[in-house]
């Protein structure tokens, strides 16, 4: 866990007593605080790469943080296409990132024989 969590602020009131919850991301256990979105919980756990691009396999992460761009989509409790920036973490939540998909009909990657 990094120190990205903001604990005090000159103007904003930062809630102090948030309960700790746990969730899994790609099968690994992580802690979050009540009120975190999946994206903010992953970020404090040092995870920026939230999914792989379906075709190129390039890592992708949070981009707009308000649910507009769909770049941070994950599978939550087996429901695909959930935006991690606007989905709150709940205790025991199972989060899976989408991985590169096979492209058998693409010429350069086609397997023959």
């Amino acid at each position: 866990m990094n120190n990205f969590r903001i604990t005090d602020h000159p103007i904003l009131k930062i809630p102090s007593s948030r309960s700790v919850i746990s969730f899994t991301f790609n099968g690994v256990n992580y802690n979050a605080l009540d009120g975190d979105t999946i994206a903010s919980a992953l970020l404090v756990n040092g995870i920026r790469a939230i999914r792989e691009h379906e075709e190129s396999g390039q890592p992708r992460g949070l981009y707009c943080n308000i649910g507009h761009c769909f770049e941070c989509r994950v599978t939550v409790n087996e429901r695909e296409g959930q935006r991690s920036c606007i989905t709150k973490v709940s205790n025991g939540m199972d989060v899976q990132s989408s991985k590169k998909l096979p492209t058998p009909f693409k010429k350069e990657e086609a397997q023959y024989g």
Partner: protein, 87 residues
């Protein structure tokens, strides 16, 4: 540099590809979209739509906006899609 500038993040289409196709075929934004898949990925063009319109309007004779909005305006599961279209 334009070949390294991805415009459509979903489909990985670059500025160079879109500009080249628009100039070569002198076509509409819709045709550019069909030829390059720019704007046809998961998000439905929510981030790149304006860029595609802009590139096409400057590289092709087609000036009018052809990328209209159609429901659903967000990606949705098939179960919901049926509900949206059954009405």
């Amino acid at each position: 540099m334009t070949k390294d500038v991805i415009v459509c993040r979903c489909e990985g289409t670059t500025l160079e590809e879109i500009a080249t196709i628009a100039a070569e075929y002198q076509c509409s934004a819709r045709e550019v979209k069909l030829r390059t898949r720019a704007g046809m990925g998961y998000c439905g063009g929510r981030t790149c739509r304006g860029f595609i319109d802009y590139i096409v309007s400057h590289h092709s004779n087609h000036q009018e906006l052809t990328l209209h909005h159609r429901p659903p305006v967000r990606p949705i599961p098939f179960a919901l899609f049926r509900e949206v279209n059954d009405e």
